[in-house]
Amino acid sequence: MSLQSEIGTFVAAVLNYFDTAVQQAAVVGTPYLALGKPPEVFDYTGMIRISGKRKGVVYFTAPKGMLSVMLMRMQETDMSDANLRDLVGEVANTLSGNARKDFGRNFIISTPSVVAGSSTTIGYSPDTRPIVVPIDWRAYHANLVVCLN
């Protein structure tokens, strides 16, 4: 499977999450390479680490406001930190599920994890250039970052 297809799988997972769970479609912006400095990290980030045929990290990072509105769309009234973490964790879980389904046994995918805080540093190999896929939803902006070598 090519890197292009793999990124397609992750993008499809995120878009599908918006379509089904949030029931309002998100739009993909033009992807670009994060050059020079690490990609921007927003308030909450759900990530999976991958090893095997490829190594690296894939994460969905979104601002608190966006996640709160997503929860509202999902008829949730609890906007606590724990619930916001759960939400990005759920997106990461979707990334993991789609990757397991599409990539086969050549990939080992970690359990999804969640970090909070925009000052967080997500570690990745210095040899790789992260590919940032902007995810626009309503007036909000999140990023799907694929950093695989």
Partner: protein
């Protein structure tokens, strides 16, 4: 007429055959038993009658005696006479019943019984008339006189008959009674025989029924065991079909899909597989119409017994096909599938089905491609090294630096916000321009491997440009290739750094490859533009099979702020001049021109107005008609506008993004990017472009550039 074969499974019908046979035997036995029972009943009836009749001779004797004594005592004798008549009738009727019973009991043909019956009849026929005679006298048998009653003639006749009957009574009793006794004995024996016969039938019947029951139990047990085995086998088949990674299915002679298939089939084909649906319909969305038609012919061939399936497998059009599956939200996914077919033969050797095996071989194809790519990469690496060795280290470093900058600019364009269709197209054209600049310079330096890599990225960009609509997803392949190109150029950069360390400044590695331009003095930071342009023109002319000389003037005077831009502009313009402006040598000779063309490049200061950068070729001139036709075909202008357009406006069309009059896309032309890039660069510097051209003579581009910091109005003029 073709005879149809019927295959009989004896194991399956044996229980039915045996059960039917035993049921028939049992029915026969029961029928015969019922028949024997009926005969026994009739024989018993006859026996009972015979036994009852044995007392009648004595009865007759008693009644006759009563009549005799009554006559002697002159009493009333009518009653015993009537009794005799009644009993006699009863005897006759009883004999008739005995005959019927004997017939019903199957003793009508029994000689002994018939003999006895004949003796009885004879005895009765002798005796019966005597009894009849006693009843034939009518009237009172007495005549009353003064001396009392005496027998009258009737009385005397009656008495004579009674006396006669009594006289024969002993013989009659002996004969009739003996015959009845013999008949009773004979019937008793017959009843015994019938009873034994019936018992025998019942015993046999019971035994047959028991055997039948036992057989039924045996077959039932065997059937249950077979059913259990069948269920187990069915489960195992289901387990296999649920586990196997290949998509397995059956096709009948109508090429309709069978009832069972492996679970993987649905996953591999990304569609539900319906029993009875046509294989052609299953394939239709996966392959082009031509492949579908060939595939159906191939599959139909497999039904022909004379066709060797292993031999024709080599022409299987579905042995490896690339199919596109749509994925929600992420466009299409490309997979490689392999279909194989095997005849499934029954025990009789007749082909009943085709077994289809479909495998997703994407990983295998990918690995094979990666291996091929790896081999190609190794060769390309070697090729690249040879190419790099021929380029002065400093020039190579400058190329890598400029290329990296162009790619970063392309990436920055992608990063800009904007997701509207027009914005996405603008991004696409921007990236195209940056990338095209790299290709031009790489080609000029003789770095064919780099140019080929950039060309691949351009292919993806060109494919996007052809799409009617764009979204962010469409740029995923672009960013991936951009990343790959950056990595590749990074490797070139590392090599260039090492090369610069070992090379004498401004020289190629003379010990390895003879220098191309050994007499030139190069500065480490700024390799001469004239040299680069000479290489660009030389490479392009060689690829286009044209003869061109380049003459440069004043390029050393290009001020530092314009050097990078001038380099980009001149590389595009020089390539364009060779590809589009210059004719092939034969055409030049035919037009009475020297077969070697000239491209002249100059840079001159024009005082306070700034500078003029000129690129001129002595080629065929701009093809006015072809430009207009191309613009009309691409829908850039309407026919009405085209009719009104002046020449300068038509020539201005060549600067539009994606505009090219080239009939084929090559590594050097056909994308319609070069002049767009030049136009954008000149505009960004605040300059303008002027065109002068004469058919068959020349084309000249004059690019006016302001003094650094100043601005000119950007216009095109002819």
């Amino acid at each position: 007429m073709k005879r149809r074969r019927y295959d009989i499974d004896f194991a399956q019908i044996m229980p039915i055959l045996v059960a039917t046979m035993f049921a028939a035997v049992l029915t026969l036995l029961l029928t015969l038993g019922i028949q024997r029972a009926a005969q026994l009943q009739s024989a018993s009836g006859a026996l009972q009658l015979a036994s009852e009749l044995r007392s009648l001779p004595q009865y007759f004797a008693t009644e006759l005696t009563l009549v005799q004594r009554g006559l002697e005592s002159r009493t009333f004798v009518g009653e015993p006479i009537d009794d005799i008549a009644t009993a006699r009738d009863g005897f006759d009727k009883a004999l008739a019943r005995i005959d019927r019973d004997l017939e019903a009991a199957g003793l009508g043909g029994n000689a002994e019984i018939q003999r006895i019956r004949g003796a009885l009849d004879a005895a009765w026929q002798r005796y019966s008339p005597l009894l009849v005679a006693t009843g034939r006298h009518k009237g009172t048998p007495y005549a009353d006189t003064l001396t009392g009653s005496r027998l009258n003639s009737t009385g005397r006749a009656l008495k004579a008959d009674v006396d006669e009957a009594l006289a024969q009574q002993e013989a009659a009793t002996r004969d009739v009674g003996g015959a009845l006794k013999d008949l009773a004995t004979g019937l008793q024996n017959a009843v015994g025989d019938r009873g034994r016969s019936l018992r025998t039938f019942l015993v046999i019947g019971a035994a047959v029924a028991a055997l039948l029951l036992a057989l039924m139990l045996y077959f039932s047990l065997r059937s249950r065991r077979a059913a259990a085995d069948a269920r187990r086998a069915e489960r195992q088949v289901a387990d296999i079909l649920g586990t196997v990674r290949e998509g397995l299915f059956l096709l009948d002679r109508n090429l309709a899909l069978g009832a069972v298939h492996s679970a993987s089939l649905t996953r591999i084909l990304h569609t539900e597989v319906v029993h009875g649906s046509s294989f052609e319909e299953l394939l239709r969305p996966l392959v082009p119409a031509k492949t579908l038609a060939t595939a159906m012919k191939f599959v139909n061939l497999l039904w022909k017994e004379k066709v060797h399936e292993d031999l024709i497998d080599t022409v299987n059009p579905l042995s490896q096909i690339e199919v596109q599956f749509s994925r929600a939200g992420s466009g299409a996914e490309s997979r490689h599938l392999s279909f194989a077919f095997k005849r499934v033969k029954s025990a009789g050797g007749q082909g009943e089905h085709l077994l289809g095996i479909v495998t997703d071989v994407t990983d295998r194809v990918q690995i094979a491609r990666e291996l091929e790519q790896s081999k190609a990469d190794n060769l390309a690496q070697l090729d690249l090294v040879m190419q790099l060795l021929q380029v002065p280290g400093a020039q190579l470093q400058a190329f890598v630096r400029d290329s990296d900058m162009a790619l970063r600019k392309g990436n920055a364009i992608l990063k800009q916000p904007g997701r509207e269709e027009s914005e996405l197209r603008s991004k696409l054209n921007g990236v195209f321009r940056e990338v095209h600049t790299i290709k031009g310079e790489a080609g000029g330096l003789g770095l064919g491997s780099v140019a080929a890599r950039v060309h691949q990225l351009e292919e993806s960009l060109a494919a996007l440009r052809e799409r009617k609509t764009l979204d962010g997803n469409d740029f995923i392949p672009i960013v991936v290739k951009l990343d790959e190109l950056m990595s590749y150029l990074g490797g070139v950069g590392q090599f260039a750094d090492r090369l610069a360390e070992v090379q004498p400044k401004g020289d190629t590695l003379k010990s390895v490859v003879p220098p191309l331009l050994a007499n030139q003095v190069l500065e480490a930071s700024e390799p001469p533009l004239e040299q680069l342009l000479a290489q660009v023109v030389s490479e392009t002319a060689s690829a286009e099979a044209k003869r061109v000389t380049l003459k440069c003037r004043g390029l050393d005077a290009i001020p530092a702020p314009y050097r990078r831009a001038a380099k980009d502009i001149l590389i595009h313009m020089a390539r364009n001049a060779v590809v589009h402006g210059i004719e092939a040598p034969d055409a030049r000779l035919a037009a009475s021109k020297p077969d070697t063309a000239q491209v002249r490049v100059s840079f001159e200061a024009t005082g306070n107005d700034g500078y003029v950068l000129t690129v001129e070729d002595d080629g065929q001139g701009l093809p006015f008609e072809r430009i207009l036709d191309t613009a009309l075909r691409k829908g850039l202008v309407s026919p009405a506008d085209a009719a009104r357009m002046e020449r300068p406006a038509v020539y201005g069309l060549i600067f539009r993004p994606g505009f090219s009059t080239a009939e084929q896309v090559t590594e050097h032309a056909g994308r319609g990017v070069g002049l767009d890039s030049v136009s954008q660069t000149v505009r960004s510097l605040g300059g303008s472009i002027g065109i002068a051209t004469t058919d068959g003579k020349f084309t000249r581009f004059r690019m006016k550039l302001p003094l650094p910091g100043g601005k000119l109005t950007a216009t095109h003029a002819a």
